[in-house]
Symmetry: C2
Subunit: 213 residues, 2 copies
Amino acid sequence: MNELSSTDATRLHRHPERGLADRAALHALLDEGLVAHVGFAQHGRPFVLPMAYARVGDTLYLHGAKASRLQQHLAAGEPVCVTVTLLDGLVFAKSAFHHSMNYRSAVVLGRGRAVTELREKRRAFEALVEQVSPGRWAACRSMTDAEANATAVVALSLAEASVKQRAGGPVDLAEDLPWPAWSGVVPLRLVAQAPVAAQGLPEDAPVPAPRRW
Amino acid sequence: MNELSSTDATRLHRHPERGLADRAALHALLDEGLVAHVGFAQHGRPFVLPMAYARVGDTLYLHGAKASRLQQHLAAGEPVCVTVTLLDGLVFAKSAFHHSMNYRSAVVLGRGRAVTELREKRRAFEALVEQVSPGRWAACRSMTDAEANATAVVALSLAEASVKQRAGGPVDLAEDLPWPAWSGVVPLRLVAQAPVAAQGLPEDAPVPAPRRW
């Protein structure tokens, strides 16, 4: 399982040279991201909603209120597409045409599996909290069974997935190079700003560790 | 057209109090974002791909290589869902259960319209470049007709759309407040890092103006 599967659906047609074939790249990208865009079709119409997620091995976990239509749809095993995109930079070329963006993007295809066993559910919740801040699970008040039962968790296998990235500078035509406009890359990063503590917090409470920002 | 339409498909079922009903909020969110997640269904299977986009009035423009399957699908007028999400912060609560994220998210539903008229196409390209950096369109080498013709542009009306956001601090249960863990919000922002100029660039070439990062 070190190579990503290449199925008809995950094979890259545009810019195949941007594809990354190893599973480690998929894992690293998913571990760095915080928000997934989850796509599903109802009556032939597509819907895309942002969701938090977490990865455990080769399984992706999504969670939401049990009563949510999306959760019920995912839990029913309907086809789903989960896409996670990290925007790495803006690529300024000499010509309008060659402007681009640097990014890494993972597309996971599959069918959801409703997680009903409480132990797996708790492991998913732990991963969801740890995805945001390592060590946080141990620091906060853990979940009651009632809370765990109120929340739907859906698992998605990473078996069918692709990873695509663009990196590096602009690709300009030789005849455009003398053009005076600046060209190059403006890297972008998601950066944590000063934390805003909740009211009434003890002064010495340590701020959670950021990992990916 | 100051109020967002509320159709069966865009009505918020979960957390309706997080909905924003005015069109100005939709425009502001779309103008701030850089990447859209575009969902479409083929043979009942959903696919979600990241794309650059731009807004002109109440029209969203997407572009891509003319030969791309996605562009052909969008241009054919199949149903599409375009979602733009801005991650504003991580919400740390006393309990694992009440952790959350602050975000703004727009969901646009509709059917694509292939843009074939060269003038509208050029206006879309200008908007796509200006979305990234205001003033850039005038600074770089403009598009030739051949370049414009090689690129497919699809327009999507903003008529059917919803905006959702979560803002503010954690919502903790009263009995959890004495728990010692830090609680509050860690705001997140997409921030430009030091620009990396392309090789051979004149020293005095001014770096493009950032707007939204």
